[in-house]
Symmetry: C2
Subunit: 450 residues, 2 copies
């Protein structure tokens, strides 16, 4: 019998998160304050609990997962690993294609892996309320779920254009008891500043981050929670890659290439970092981050210190960036719209230890539809970026006749993105390459450092 789905028992949920910092050839560059000097970790105490700050700066290879977090993980983890046999057949490729499926969480994506951890540590620290931002709502809904599971109130600043056009993830957040506001709001200084300049602002992730950070910094009972970019967020997501390794071991396999879509980097880091550990130990494995041509942070951005938000409230991080005032083009259907990228992913890319590729929108939907028709699951538009490159790798193997084992992360389902599929079928989506000149202009507004 040919196995389709490789499952693990609950007892096989990893007991530790893997910290890639321990295996990086160079220590990560520190975040800088407004004065250009490294900021002491405790300066983050206004918005993060100590446990997460310690994880943010830790060099330990293994960090234990608290039992209440593993208990929450059991609601959807271990997630299944699939062998995409029907897709292989449809492509006529000699390659073996595996995908880890994170859409089985109640929020429908990988995001709850870190949301429940962050909710737990904040709860332990006596915090009663979390503020955060969300774009299309994947992260906001994940934190709403986590807040509900650990008894924390959650307030979500949702990018206005998504709030209006994508009401169903908002309903999900409300079902899980969260408060949701269309950002920019007039509830924060940051929001009022943006609205003063542009009362019709559709909002952006950078603006919503400013609002959520401001709220957390100004209230003692409230902390801030971020769904990607930061070291501790990527750390929590390494549960994905660890499970995938165990599952592949069960069928005696190991990937030649690991592929994941990459916006802020938590999805990519989540599946790829545990394989980086093997790479650092000398094993051959390619790790490929996939981004949209309309927001080509790694492939076209500059490796520089920049703010994490639009208004400039966050510390400066050394990362690939398109500039903190980047506005994603309206024609882009999916997420992956963040101007920066995880400092860890950025550094690994800068040191040529991982690869990155940018793909145009239409090709990602084409891949997603082919995947859905072969495997059933309809992927999120973000995940379609990984599907595209996995298919391209499989087709390359077909041309060369080379046997190859491909692993990608199917980070979420597309149930809340069917309007984007509709637009694709109706021919209303276009490809878009973010112009070089716009990046160059933004680079002139990078904060001066040192």
């Amino acid at each position: 019998m040919s196995q389709t789905k490789i499952v693990l028992e609950e007892s096989e949920i990893p007991t530790h998160w893997y910290n890639v910092v321990a295996d990086m050839p160079n220590r990560p560059a520190p975040p800088l304050g407004p004065d250009g000097k490294p900021i002491p970790p405790q300066a983050l105490g206004a918005i993060f609990p100590e446990a997460l700050i310690l994880q943010e700066v830790s060099g330990e290879r293994w960090i234990p997962i608290p039992e209440p977090v593993r208990e929450a993980y059991r609601l959807w983890r271990p997630s299944p690993l699939y062998r995409a046999r029907r897709l292989e057949q449809a492509l006529g490729t000699p390659a073996k294609i595996y995908y880890k499926y994170e859409g089985v969480s109640a929020a429908g994506s990988h995001k709850p892996n870190t949301a429940v951890a962050q909710a737990y540590y904040n709860k332990e620290a006596g915090i009663t309320r979390l503020s955060t931002e969300t774009g299309a709502g994947q992260w906001g809904s994940s934190l709403a779920l986590a807040g509900q599971l650990f008894g924390l109130a959650v307030r979500v600043y949702m990018v206005k254009v998504s709030y209006e056009q994508k009401p169903f993830r908002r309903s999900m957040m409300q079902t899980w008891g969260a408060e949701v506001y269309a950002s920019p709001t007039d509830r924060t200084e940051s929001g009022r500043k943006i609205l003063a300049a542009d009362p019709a602002s559709p909002g952006s992730l950078g603006i919503a981050i400013s609002e959520a950070v401001e709220e957390a910094a100004s209230r003692k009972d409230t902390n801030y929670s971020l769904g990607s970019v930061l070291n501790h967020v990527l750390l929590h997501q390494t549960i994905i890659g660890q499970e995938a390794k165990k599952q592949l071991e069960k069928v005696g396999d190991y990937p030649d290439v690991v592929i994941a879509s990459c916006g802020g980097g938590s999805n990519f880091g989540g599946i790829a970092f545990p394989f980086f550990a093997d790479k650092a130990a000398g094993r051959r494995v390619r790790l490929v981050a996939v981004e949209p041509t309309s927001c080509p942070t790694l492939t076209k951005g500059k490796y520089a210190y920049d703010f994490g938000d639009t208004v400039g409230l966050t510390p400066l991080m050394l990362m690939y960036t398109l500039g903190h005032d980047f506005m994603p083009p309206g024609i882009h259907a999916g997420g992956l719209r963040y101007h920066g990228d995880s400092p860890l992913v950025s550094q690994l890319y800068h040191e040529k230890l991982i690869e990155a590729v940018a793909v145009p929108q239409l090709a990602t939907f084409e891949a997603g539809v082919a995947f859905a028709r072969a495997e059933g699951i309809i992927p999120a538009p973000e995940s379609n970026h990984a599907v595209r490159v996995a298919i391209d790798e499989a087709l390359a193997a077909k041309r060369t006749g080379e046997p190859k084992t491909i692993l990608f992360n199917l980070s979420g389902h597309g149930h809340f993105d069917m309007a984007a599929y509709d637009r694709y079928f109706a021919g209303e989506l276009e490809d878009y390459e973010y112009p070089k000149e716009a990046i160059e202009r933004s680079m002139q507004r990078l904060p001066k450092v040192g």
Copy 2:
């Protein structure tokens, strides 16, 4: 460690479907033709393949599942069984609550369990195209998926009001390559007849069935496929209850009560029938079908011969019915709107071997939200009916202090029903009891038999 999720290996997918007919004290009453005489099975050959007709009339206890169907099942089966520990805690009940979760299929409900089987048998019989009806789209999307997996074209007549108000399941069907029409259409005699009488007809399940049956009956390459009601459909769904039994065995448990929502009966039959086998052998277990007060077929309908569709194209079946011209009230958010019920479920209820209860809409949403906040998963409105009664049973156990083991089927997720949750939160949903007088009027229009 307390187990949350009981999983099975692919090799544990049942090898046979269970046919409840073998254990019923009385053989099912036969379907009748327009002349009031039992129709010979081969008369169904115009719209069904022989293999399914044989299953429809079989008295064999075990019917083998073809390997290609088990292969397709592996895309999402075995489905997980959860112990709802967080819900138990939230309710403060001594009862143990288990739920089988069928929302893991790519279509998001239990419906693909029979869709892939029907697609397989039709393909084997040389059929190239299936026609069917769908209300909100759960069944249509499941058949679209199954058609895609087995290489059959699928045409779906979707109830017009759903087609217009719920575009996302339509997009799903199109992603899987199906053609979808808003019913009533002007493509069939049945549709034209309805439109002549009421050009603004919002459509109904009964009308859409008429259209799909007519199309299949008039084309040699096309067969008809039904998502519930018929014996072979319930047969295919017994995979659910069989898996649940195996999973409960693994943790040494057995239910005192098995609960499922019931529209056409396939969800209820799917989880309950394998337990009926034990009941027939003398084991104590209650089997409870839950329906909406707005469509109270079992609890308020008449046990009589009636058509399966509105126009009167189908054979007459002995079942509980509200009358084949029943129009569901517009204020009802979820599915479970069919005027009749499975003849097998109807007969078991008529013979007092199973129970039925009708619950009002608001109480089902209240239960669904409580469930989502405890367990994470947001249930489909149909599934909320089962959640409601499971919670009621658990609260009864709390009052009496009685230990009790409850099993219910969470037949699908609510990702395509968030608009209904929105309306619930906005106070726009109402309770509705389908009036006795309306039922009595419909009863006068029942076909005369014998």
